[in-house]
Symmetry: D2
């Protein structure tokens, strides 16, 4: 149950649930709530970024042996449609490249009725020890 | 006190404080806390994304007349150094371009002792009515 | 033969060939040559960017009625492996989102033996008249 | 005359001229020409990408000891205004971060009368041996 062990304080706080993560693909959900409301009365883009970043991280993790860590180096989102407060979001991420030292993944975030809310890509470093990017 | 009126539920929840926003520049702070911890025991990148996105939105807002809204369309982050839990973060955003229909901003997120944690850019649509991107 | 009419001076100069563009997907090729050599003796990333940008533009064009124009607003590339001088490159682009005013596409650029050279995404404005972004 | 030695076939072909590169900042120019025309009769974004990528590479090079190489890993552009064919472009790049293994730079591309044409950011790997990203 590697996935379950890996759930972090951040994802618990945000209500992110890991549905599956294997062979370079990950599916996660997030139930949006009133605390996530931005100035336009929809879900703040930062939470969508958090969901997508987490999903891509899990997709990459699923391709790595135990003990190897990854660090996202860049994260890019395209916000396509607003997410309504209370709406359930679903992120589907997959690995596009997994090398010895780097990885690239992309992600789709969809709302109810399958409406596309955002797309994302991320680049990762892969390494064995814990630390920051430098 | 336009800035104060504009504080949202999301930024309150995240502990984001607006220090200043005028003439295309905005400064915001965020006190990181244990709920923001990721699987590597540092601040989850999603919260850094939320801070940067908010700061760039405020920088752009400061250049717009009342009644004009903006919607971020893309958001790009480069994560440079990990942010430690408990560390205070500061985001400084500025507008690079403000046209009739689009805007572009960038942002630096720094930690304690001025350590560069992340850089970001965002693109915005500008328009008068409320709605999603389409 | 809309595709053929649309071939530009730039794509001709770069040796970019449109293989197909329909229903939101486009395939293009580019034969790299010595003039494209960078300081590391491989293909300069700018040409890979040009190929990907062109492919995503064609994918989007294939979804638009005649007379509607599109303008790329942002372009993001992840360079995964070097492309060798002389190597034939192939770009496969597809539309992820096509709304009334905006579009989002992604692209994979592969080299010989199917090696993944780069991935890309782009955002577009869609409109009817000619002009720049503002 | 390190700068001069480093001029590549690609930059010569594109008409890119290195004006200066020192202490993390680089200035380059490019004279656009008819071969660079896209389907909208303005400069193809790929050439602007090539100019910006080159400028950020030179900015980073200027901070590295001889023998250290860098490889761009991601490149992100925001296209703000069209560049006219024949217009002279100028790119000003600067390093935002230079660590032991990674670097981040940004760039502004301006046209005549100082009109902002594009902004860009790039991430780099830094290492001593020649090779591709993996």
């Amino acid at each position: 149950m590697r996935a379950r062990e890996g759930i972090s304080a951040a994802t618990t706080w945000l209500g992110i649930v890991l549905v599956s993560a294997e062979r370079g693909e990950a599916v996660l959900t997030m139930a949006t709530r009133p605390e996530m409301t931005n100035r336009q009365d929809v879900v703040h883009g930062g939470f969508i970024a958090a969901l997508a970043d987490t999903a891509m991280g899990w997709a990459l993790s699923s391709t790595l042996p135990d003990g190897e860590r990854h660090y996202s180096f860049d994260l890019k989102l395209s916000f396509i449609a607003a997410a309504r407060i209370g709406e359930g979001l679903r992120a589907v991420a997959r690995v596009l490249h997994r090398g010895h030292r780097t990885g690239v993944a992309d992600c789709r975030v969809v709302g109810e009725e399958g409406r596309l809310v955002a797309t994302a890509t991320a680049s990762f470093f892969i390494r064995q020890q814990v630390g920051n990017n430098e």
